[in-house]
């Protein structure tokens, strides 16, 4: 069976896997963004807070993904939970780091001006600091997403959702007729998804970054 025939036969399964892959990455990314930006907001004004946050998140990233999922399975069981937890944790670092860089990069004279015209702390954050930090945060989200696309494939190891299942099936039946096709389909699917997401981010950037600070 050629690769194209394989795709034709299995497109139903592949599309479901792809959809689930995209969906889990997207949802984890949303959670990671919220948590990451929150961590950034809480820590960016203190020197040691910044160090702690960056160190903690980059330490997480050094744990091999297979090991991380392996460690999570005994604690939360198989399937979706370990996948979501692992992906969210991995997704944090770029978001946290860029949020901190972005927030610290806001011109202090603008913060001074914001205080001077009578903006409260929350208002300053919401109306001035976060909008100005948004472009780097968005870049962080983009990097995170690319990373998560690959890591999500590992989730199949814990019976998680996504295109990883395709790859793992292929690896498990190496030598059989469809082994290569399966691995190839899974891998290419992930690449296509990654490209689609990247395109979406460019669009989101266009829509959400105000014209005044667009590069």
């Amino acid at each position: 069976m050629s690769f194209w025939e394989y795709l034709g036969n299995r497109h139903q399964q592949l599309l479901t896997d792809a959809y689930q892959h995209a969906s889990v990455v997207f949802q984890c990314m949303v959670v990671a963004t919220v948590i990451g930006v929150l961590i950034g907001v809480v820590t960016y004004r203190s020197g040691w807070g910044v160090k702690l946050a960056t160190m903690a998140t980059s330490t997480l990233l050094t744990i091999p993904s297979l090991a991380m999922i392996g460690l999570l399975v005994p604690a939360v069981g198989l399937g979706v939970p370990p996948t979501v937890i692992a992906l969210t944790l991995y997704g944090l670092l770029p978001v946290v780091r860029n949020a901190i860089v972005g927030l610290r990069g806001v011109d202090p004279s603008l913060v001074d001006a914001a205080r001077g015209i009578g903006m409260s702390r929350v208002m300053r954050l919401v109306r001035v600091e976060l909008p100005l930090a948004w472009p780097p945060v968005l870049t962080g989200i983009r990097v995170s997403t690319q990373m998560l696309m690959g890591i999500a494939a590992i989730a199949a190891y814990a019976s998680g959702p996504g295109l990883g299942n395709e790859i793992f099936r292929g690896i498990a039946s190496l030598g059989s007729r469809n082994a290569l096709n399966q691995v190839l389909a899974g891998t290419l699917g992930i690449i296509v998804l990654a490209l689609l997401f990247d395109g979406a981010y460019v669009l989101i950037g266009r829509l959400t970054i105000p014209r005044g600070i667009r590069a």
């Binding site: 011109d107 004279s109 603008l110 001074d112 001006a113 914001a114 205080r115 001077g116 015209i117 009578g118 903006m119 409260s120 208002m123 109306r127 001035v128 909008p131 100005l132 105000p210 014209r211 005044g212 600070i213």
Partner: protein, 407 residues
């Protein structure tokens, strides 16, 4: 501070205001006491690091004072919520501080929005303010700050500070870091605005000339903000309190004084004039009869046209059209005495015609008139200072000073 529409200034009193940062041996600002009248433009001037900015920022409590009181219009604001306070006090800073992600209109609308104005009112106010600071509302409304020149950004910054019509305006080196010509324009604009609005403005600068040009009164600050002298620009120039002030004001105080007086305020002399329509014979008669060497020929609208000397008419064979030298430079009545001096010095004959609003001739200044008016001015300044000084020994000192000068 009651909210009024078109609120003009409120008085500000600073009483023993002090700021000490923890862990530093000496306070950054020590015991500043100052009374600023409603509608007054007071300039704080001093070397960098003297605490003038700190003092300013304590007025809207961007920096919390560690001691002393601040009263605005009699109300003690040292204890009230700083956010509420700041919405009633306009604030303009050096780099303009416009938010780059908001349009010009959004920037200006910030404070009115915060204090809950309606949409329509905000929209009208933004247009009005843009107009007020000399920017075309239609053109600038939707632009982003990065598309504006430095001067335009400062104007928008000023508009934003004025947006909710606060009685008090704090300006922290608002015209710093712009080129001298733009700076000059902005200063003129501020003077014009202040004539219309009568806000109480506290203005911080390092530039003595700016202080002299803008201030109703100037506070010269020393290190850690004790006030070395707090007085009118005239008094500071002609009668500096001590060596520190005179050193800071710098050499050429008399020259700087010239910037404070306009040609309209001094006596100008007259010179015989004729118009181009007068018969030649009359021109001859005037020339001969005047006792001066030259007369001024005016055009049909009464504007200075040519200087005619005795010999000129002879050489031109009696035709005024060909005789004399064209008037190259005139002074308006709004020109400062410094401009006048400049013009007189560069004029080959040492005299310049003064013109009214439509360019019509009103008189002449020359070196002699300038000298005598400057002397009168300085003398008047000294007398005024003496009247205000109560300590007898100071009066005596000033008198001897005046006598020596007069001798």
């Amino acid at each position: 501070m009651p909210e009024r529409s078109g609120a003009s200034g409120a008085s500000i009193e600073l009483e023993n205001l002090a700021k000490r940062y923890p862990g530093t041996p000496r306070p950054a600002v020590d015991n500043v006491t100052m009374e600023i009248k409603a509608g007054e433009l007071v300039v704080l001037v001093g070397p960098s690091g003297c605490g003038k900015s700190t003092t300013l920022k304590m007025i809207n409590r961007l920096i919390e004072p560690t001691g002393g009181r601040i009263r605005i219009n009699g109300e003690d604001v040292t204890g009230i919520d700083p956010v509420t306070l700041r919405r009633k006090v306009g604030y303009a800073i050096q780099s303009a501080g416009l938010f780059p992600h908001m349009t010009v209109a959004q920037n200006i609308a910030l404070v009115p929005k915060m204090i809950g104005w309606g949409k329509g009112r905000i929209k009208d106010r933004v247009e009005e303010l843009l107009d007020l600071v000399g920017l075309d509302p239609g053109e600038f409304h939707g632009r982003y700050p990065r598309g504006l020149s430095g001067g335009q950004q400062r104007r928008v910054g000023l508009a934003r500070a004025l947006a909710a019509d606060p009685p008090v305006l704090l300006m922290d080196e608002p015209f710093g870091a712009v080129d001298p010509i733009t700076r000059d324009h902005l200063q003129d604009e501020l003077i014009r605005l202040q004539h219309e609005l009568h806000k109480t403005i506290v203005f911080v600068t390092q530039d003595v000339d700016e202080a002299i040009k803008l201030g109703d009164r100037i506070a010269v600050l020393r290190e850690r903000s004790p006030i070395a002298q707090f007085d009118t620009p005239e008094a500071i120039l002609t009668n500096p309190a001590d060596d520190y002030v005179s050193g800071f004001v710098g050499a050429g105080a008399a020259l700087k004084r010239l910037n404070l007086t306009r040609v309209r305020d001094v006596k100008i002399t007259d010179c015989p004039t004729v118009t181009v329509d007068d018969p030649v014979q009359e021109i001859f008669n005037k020339l001969r009869g005047s006792g001066t060497n030259e007369i001024l020929l005016l055009d049909r609208h009464g504007r200075p046209y040519k200087w005619l000397r005795r010999g000129d008419m002879m050489r031109a064979k009696g035709s005024p059209a060909r005789a004399g030298t064209l008037v190259s430079d005139t002074l308006s009545r709004d020109a400062t005495l410094r401009d006048a001096l400049e013009a007189v010095l560069t004029d080959t004959a040492g005299r310049v015609a003064v013109t009214g609003r439509r360019g019509e001739y009103t008189g002449v200044v020359d070196m002699e008139t300038l000298m005598s008016s400057v002397q009168d001015l300085l003398e008047a300044d000294r007398l005024e200072v003496m009247e205000h000084q109560h300590a007898p020994e100071e009066i005596r000192a000033a008198q001897t000073h005046a006598e020596q000068e007069g001798a």
